[in-house]
Assembly symmetry: C2
Homo-oligomer: 499 residues x 2
């Protein structure tokens, strides 16, 4: 019989393969599945989830982790083998706390919730979603109890997406951001006419938009031999191996920015996954460190790169070659157009400046739901009140209000803060890259991004999931989460545009 480390790897490979199969079922569900397939798909996903959970949380896995520990006890903590065991143990201990029956119930409920949410949003009818959402919230609270926490039940949920981060830290970070953003948003509202985004709304053939977006992301380094782009109502990046990392986007004739920045955003996620070493395949190391770190990559390419002046000095001619109706716009005009910032109702269409307010609304509502301070039936009213407070807007109906996001139907409470964490971290890493790599600032100013990708590959992507987000930030920047670089970036950019 092979040694315990080898046996553990085989077992983790089985779990990874089951997870990859489930991921493909999910990809298909959101791209090509015919409507009639939904019920059977829910059952299939529940079974894969249950099998994966059973194999991974079996006593035998725990015994192999213990037995394999001896073999790595002499290795440096940053070695691949030591990291693999550390991550496997962490996942094992977390999942062992969840009974299989609970996991299967949660999976089935989520599948049902997905369907109910789609219908509810279509009809702008929150009541259609309320029963299953109530069950989702109850299951989520139950999950927090199973997982355990010392300060706040939300800590247990957050930990699934952003290991080791505590709710109290998010509160502090968000308070600093809120104070820093308030004057910037106020200035943008006061000078709304300063930026004109008319060039984005001239009508652009959808197929050509998709082709141009694929041309641009290929030039930036997305490997179409190990990925593809499809259409989906809600863009996402998903991977079945470092050699098969797919993205989806959406396209609207009269909103040129939607497909373009959707593709750039998901490409940022995908570059991370495509950069994970192939030898990590079929192990729990073969993915990003956390959702916040992941989002730092998507936001960096979408915003810090994609909404910069040098980017459009380089790529506007690419757009104009396919869309001659843009020939009267110069790169400065296009730069301004894609950076128009105004309060709006829909998070995924929000601009860079007001985006974080949407996250704060959701974070505060999730805390209230978890704490029992907010009854799910009162969610629409609470949503609308917070939207008014943060952005001065009230949704005309729930479809563009409380029903707009897919997350709660997926049981993903504790997820939203990672979007804003990603924004914060993107600025930290962008700064660190320019400090550490000679000549990089000049390259970026010239619209050259190969050096940036190279630095990210070496300093972040190559580690996969070996380190926690905190460890990674420490290794790369020498510090912890810090809102200042992000606020400085936003202040300089939007101060100039709307100042």
């Amino acid at each position: 019989m092979s040694d315990p480390a080898m046996q553990l790897r085989e077992r983790l490979a089985t779990v990874s393969d089951l997870g990859a199969a489930a991921a493909l079922l999910s990809w298909d569900q959101q791209t090509y599945m015919p409507p009639g397939g939904a019920g059977a798909r829910a059952e299939q996903l529940a079974t894969l989830s249950r099998m994966s959970h059973e194999v991974f949380t079996a006593d035998a896995t725990g015994a192999l982790i213990e037995a394999a520990s001896d073999a790595v006890s002499g290795l440096p903590t940053d070695s691949d083998d030591a990291a693999l065991l550390r991550v496997a143990r962490r996942d094992f201990e977390r999942l062992r706390k969840l009974p299989s029956a609970f996991v299967a119930d949660f999976t089935r409920t989520r599948a049902q919730a997905r369907q109910d949410w789609i219908e509810a949003r279509k009809q702008a009818d929150f009541g259609r979603f309320l029963p299953v959402l109530t069950k989702i919230i109850a299951l989520t609270r139950q999950q927090a109890e199973y997982l355990g926490y010392s300060e706040h039940p939300y800590d247990a949920l957050l930990d699934a997406y952003e290991p080791e981060l505590r709710t109290a830290e998010v509160r502090t970070l968000f308070a600093e951001l809120r104070d820093g953003l308030r004057p910037l948003i106020a200035a943008a509202q006061a000078n709304a006419g300063a930026v004109n985004d008319e060039p984005l709304h001239r009508g652009y053939d959808e197929q050509v938009q998709l082709q141009v977006s694929e041309q641009i992301i290929a030039e930036l380094g997305y490997d179409f031999n190990r990925g593809r782009q499809d259409l989906a109502p809600h863009p996402f990046c998903i991977n079945f191996a470092p050699t098969d990392v797919r993205i989806t986007t959406r396209v609207t004739r009269n909103e040129l920015n939607m497909c373009l920045f959707g593709s750039l955003h998901e490409m940022g996620h995908a570059l991370y996954e495509q950069g994970v070493p192939v030898q990590f395949a079929r192990t729990p190391l073969a993915r990003g460190a956390s959702l916040g770190i992941h989002e730092s990559q998507s936001r960096m390419w979408e915003n810090l790169v994609g909404r910069s002046r040098p980017f459009w000095r380089r790529f506007l001619p690419t757009l104009q070659a396919r869309f001659p109706q843009l020939n009267d716009v110069d790169s400065e005009g296009f730069y301004r157009a894609v950076n128009r910032a105004q309060p709006s109702l829909i998070r995924v269409e929000a601009d860079e400046l007001t985006y974080n307010a949407h996250i704060m609304v959701r974070f505060e509502l999730e805390l209230a739901l978890l704490e029992g301070a907010l009854d799910p039936v009162d969610l629409p009213a609470a949503w609308n009140a917070k939207m008014q407070a943060y952005l001065g807007l009230t949704p005309p109906d729930d479809a563009v209000g409380v029903l707009q996001d897919i997350h709660w139907s997926g049981g993903m409470i504790g997820y939203f803060p990672t979007y804003t964490l990603g924004n914060v971290i993107s600025a930290q890493l962008y700064g660190a890259a320019q400090q550490q790599q000679a000549g990089l600032s000049d390259e970026l100013a010239g619209g050259e991004y190969g050096g940036l990708l190279h630095w990210l590959r070496a300093n972040l992507h190559a580690h996969g999931r070996k380190f926690t987000p905190r460890e990674l930030l420490q290794r790369i920047t020498g510090g912890d989460l810090d809102a200042k670089p992000y606020l400085a970036y936003l202040g300089a950019k939007f101060g100039e545009l709307y100042g």
Copy 2:
């Protein structure tokens, strides 16, 4: 704890879900997967196959089958519950006869064979494929020994695809077909100029071809709410549930028949699977009775319906509306064009008349290989000799000869006869439908197919896999396999076209 029958259903549902997941991975592999994903996909499929085999062949499954037997002992044999137990027991006993070490070896060998076959065909180099093919044949003979047989080792293999059919019966059937087909093929060769298929080769936009094929199969009853059509190099039908049955087709600008009849063929398979009762979902009853019965459905819609005069009287205007370059062709001319019959080298491109000769070549070679009468090294020469004898053609190289089919690299010896069985059964069922359903012949003569589908739904599709092919034929036609209706159909059709 629930009763044994319920527990057995749950276990079978798990196996079914794992199979559905594997099917989706395979669908994706053949439609959308980027090239880089191939290696990881092979691992994922191997894992799902292993998990499914482990769950299904576990001692616990056998114990549940025994325990559940009491509950159904008083039920009529054609009840759903009795059939489910019968089919589950049959599958269980068959798979339990194969030692797990043998299954693993066969799986590894097939994976190797697939790679070697692809290379060998690319280079038209049979020697590249010979070593692994020799091993495949040895393993196949071994498999027959494990499974057991009373007359011929080929019986044990055939049984996997066409339960209970014996090799001797195939020999008798094929001999009758051979004698009946010989003068028809000779007449077609002697009067090759009698049928002109020029209208098929005028150049037709691929996207429009796909749209027209989808319009036609939707009108015939394919439910796009529970299915979809995509492109694949080799057309196939695959199902993940009776509520999600997908087909693929291929399209060539200058071969109008390829997409059209590819779609009709796969639609025939899909109508069968979409017609399986939804309450059979997640059980081994939720699919067709055998490959031969399945092929009877694809061939019926492709040939007996799709290559008939009434079909084109109805649908030629549909084609002409999208392809005005066909306006000078009348339905009689189009009917003749799609029925051109001439000997050719490639099975999957063969016409309705000469197709079966390709199957007979393969059947006779498989028997000789199994019996040890033919050494694998002599296979190319034997192939070419039989092609000359049956069709008067000798392949210029092995890529378009002995290496053309994927089946042997997949260990699928015993599969080919089911294609011809499908042809034979299609004519039996088409005749039975017209005898049993008043007015159906007139409907068919008028290009109306709703009544045919209704009859197939009630008499065949509704049974799923409850009965063996022989039981089904007995129930429906009152008799056994019979070549005469098929020969009568071909004789009338091609006697007129080429007489």
